[in-house]
Symmetry: C2
Subunit: 500 residues, 2 copies
């Protein structure tokens, strides 16, 4: 065992446990359920999955893969291409596996990210045959120190029959930043003792039954950097509309000057919106989110944010170099938690989150589609958007008002897939403006959304749809013309445009 690894395997019972990736991969059998670390390309198991891909060149087998969220291309893409994934949950964001999901070759279960741990705990997901967990170290007292994400690793480690550790000295050493807390079984569970975004309530590592660790693999592959797109004029406009709205809430006495803890969904639009705080007057902000992207660290650097809590850190290459080159300066302003806690309804409702997530499309009543292109093709997945939106103080969705160069209106008569219902969505913001839907009846929402958020090219057509529906239904509670409700999507399918 080389010295680097030796210093990181601090538990005496683990001597002699280091094996090659090929050996570890050989333990995974056809039909097994495998739980892996990894959340939005961060802290994912990499070396053993790659060895599985190698093995698949000579052998046919399939496994079910449960993770925190999406993995880097090493896993989701290469494993998908190798045909070894039978079922995947709870989130993915990779074009290769997406294609297999949308051609019926991979089963995909798209779940609220706070719910997975409960399902694993209950035995609905599982039994988990193997856990494969990337780690920075294993401590003297039997704890796994994760790398750049925590995700579902604690519950996977707790419930898995056997565990493979990918010990990765090339990954940033975040020891001390993690805060591991797992609730007990339902019916015999204490309140989660977290009162603010900065509270530490658990241990700095994942407690593990050392005897379950079957092997330790030396890994040297770094996280794949995030593919975030930089802010543009329109995302900047969305951010400005939101800042104006938040200022008005402060003026109305409904929010304190430093707001309430912010959550921002994964992806470029949400990241751009968060970046909008950089050149604002806001200070002493708190982040209680899921993925910490570039914008969070820009805000930490600018002293706009005083504490950032999440379950993973996913950065562009440039931002990663900056952050991990000097991680010490962030250590007392960062907390990583299990996704069960970062996304927990109990905590989100208690501390009063301002949740900002990206919509694929919304409709005139405020329903939101986060996942399905044209109602049928899975994009990435729901992620934590439902956990946060439903329980947030303010559940905000952002989207550009149009897509595909103007052929698609992001606001339609009826969304073709529903991830968040009219009951859950407080605010919708596009580059056109913002609609505050709180407390509104459906017909009030129609006016707020069409007048404030819709692109001018589609305004009249949406009013025409609505007025026709009012007439057809005798002005029912939620006027819809069921023969035309999905016609904009059908039009796009047939003519590649929603324009009439």
């Amino acid at each position: 065992m080389d010295a680097t690894l030796n210093a990181r395997i601090r538990h005496s019972a683990l001597e002699g446990k280091v094996v090659s990736a090929e050996t570890a991969a050989s333990w995974i059998q056809d039909g097994m359920v495998v739980g892996m670390s990894g959340f939005t390309r961060a802290g994912d198991a990499k070396t053993v999955p790659l060895a599985l891909v190698e093995r698949a060149k000579n052998e046919k087998f399939q496994i079910d893969v449960y993770t925190g969220a999406s993995l880097g291309p090493e896993v989701d893409q290469l494993m998908a291409d190798a045909g070894i994934i039978r079922k995947r949950a709870p989130y993915q964001g990779d074009p290769a596996i997406r294609k297999l999901i949308n051609t019926g070759q991979v089963l995909y279960s798209d779940m609220h990210l706070s719910h997975n741990a409960e399902l694993i705990r209950q035995g609905i997901i599982g039994p988990i045959d193997f856990a494969i967990i990337e780690a920075t170290a294993i401590t003297e007292d039997g704890m796994i120190i994760p790398t750049t994400s925590i995700g579902n690793s604690p519950i996977i480690v707790q419930m898995a029959k056997e565990i493979i550790i990918e010990l990765n000295p090339e990954q940033p050493n975040l020891e001390g930043i993690h805060d591991i807390y797992l609730p007990g079984p339902q019916g015999d569970r204490d309140p989660i003792p977290l009162l603010t975004a900065s509270d530490r309530i658990g241990t700095t590592g994942i407690p593990v039954d050392i005897s379950k660790i079957k092997g330790i693999v030396h890994s040297t592959i770094k996280d794949a950097p995030s593919l975030i797109v930089q802010p543009d004029e329109e995302t900047e406009q969305i951010a400005q509309h939101l800042l104006t709205f938040l200022r008005d809430e402060i003026t109305a006495g409904r929010l304190p000057k430093n707001l309430l803890p912010l959550q921002s969904g994964v992806g470029s639009v949400a990241n751009a919106v968060l970046n909008g705080f950089l050149n604002s007057e806001f200070e002493e902000l708190e982040i209680y989110s899921e993925v910490l992207q570039d914008a969070v660290f820009n805000l930490l650097d600018a002293n706009k944010v005083k504490i950032a809590s999440g379950t993973s850190i996913t950065l562009s290459e440039e931002c990663g170099n900056k952050v991990y080159g000097d991680i010490g300066q962030y250590k007392d302003r960062l907390v990583l938690r299990p996704q069960e806690i970062s996304n927990h309804p109990e905590v989100i409702r208690r501390i009063g989150i301002i949740a900002i997530n990206t919509a694929l499309e919304t409709d005139i009543y405020g329903n939101v589609n986060s996942t399905h292109v044209n109602g049928t093709h899975m994009m990435n997945g729901l992620g934590g958007s439902g956990d946060f939106t439903r329980n947030a103080r303010l559940g905000i969705f952002v989207t550009k008002s149009y897509a595909k160069g103007g052929d698609i209106s992001s606001i339609v008569p009826m969304v073709a897939h529903h991830d968040h219902t009219e009951h859950d969505v407080d605010v919708i913001a596009t580059e056109q403006g913002i609609a505050d839907l709180r407390g509104m009846a459906p017909k009030e929402r129609v006016k707020a959304i069409i007048e404030n958020c819709v692109h001018p090219d589609f305004k009249e057509a949406l009013w025409d749809y609505y007025n026709g529906a009012v007439e057809k239904t005798g002005n029912a509670h939620t006027p819809h013309d069921l023969e035309k409700a999905l016609s904009w999507h059908v039009s796009y399918q047939k003519n590649k445009t929603m324009k009439q």
Copy 2:
């Protein structure tokens, strides 16, 4: 002041506050926001609303009415007929007001029942000009003792500018059964210290700033009895399927022998399902629900249930006579809470509720419509179904597989309104059988639902729809044919049948 009232107005500062209903009603001005007690026809303000209806014969005015949930016919029906309701929230269940909602004459905001209190606290609903609260007594130390429901009364009392009490000696005296706990503001809030269905965490009355009580009206009108329909053969079959499912969960080690706390939605089907436990082997059951209907008291009488917690008691006339004729025997087995607590995600997730709610229709992917007839016409409202389902250990929806004598299939290609998405629904049960959807990908759910839950008359047509959609989308993640997805509803609109 007569002696009966005197004994119930125990706070010295309230002497001389008794006024006629007409006087109290005269304080309510056009355009005011009024918060009233009342939840599913129980404990609602009655006498002052009736005086408002009288006044409306000679004067034109409109008010916004916020309550716990639905009111008895004295309020929702007569006020609606009198044309004095501009906006109504968060729930109703009355044919007269429903008609006005569905013809554009009353605005209705249909909300998760656990969310209202937050919106009132934040000032999104309100400011509330007047609270009208039915009470059994006002105590020496300044607490309002509610009658048969609590609902949103505590937060309405806290936030209202002025308060009118309807002191009603004719209503059952439940003093000691209520448990009033209100969370603090978000961001400065402790965990809710409730660990089991039987825990008492608050006060037995609603704390009130006595100086806000502008008048006390003597009321003698009893609650309108519930209109519950007795179990029939098919609801009995649904109950039996559920009992079998729960037994299997116990066998699999996923539930303890006395299950976990049960929640049952309002209405006849859910009540019938709960009644199904009467002739079962289950014992020591707990109820942690919203409305306590007849079935709960039948189960208490049979010693099947050891504790029942809710926010209102809504009984048939016969059951009411039994229960209120001997309320003493139930006192230590009953707790009434604010709906913010009975329906709180934090509590529901912690104690691991088995939630049983009624669907109007579901689709082949497990989405549920709880509210809209044919996607456009409001029936009653969402109620607490979303609060419970999303956060439950087991989120179960029950419905007969057909309606309107067989012309409607309760399971359709795509629900015409989405209240609960595929991500939230664990189990669907009809008289045909039960589909356990936990952990399933969409295509797995299709098979489980069509094969187990659909009426034989519609099975083939649903498979035809699905197979066509698979072909049309190249077997996408969620196959739908958007040109046909709502065609069953259109067919019913045109031909009064979904049958081809």
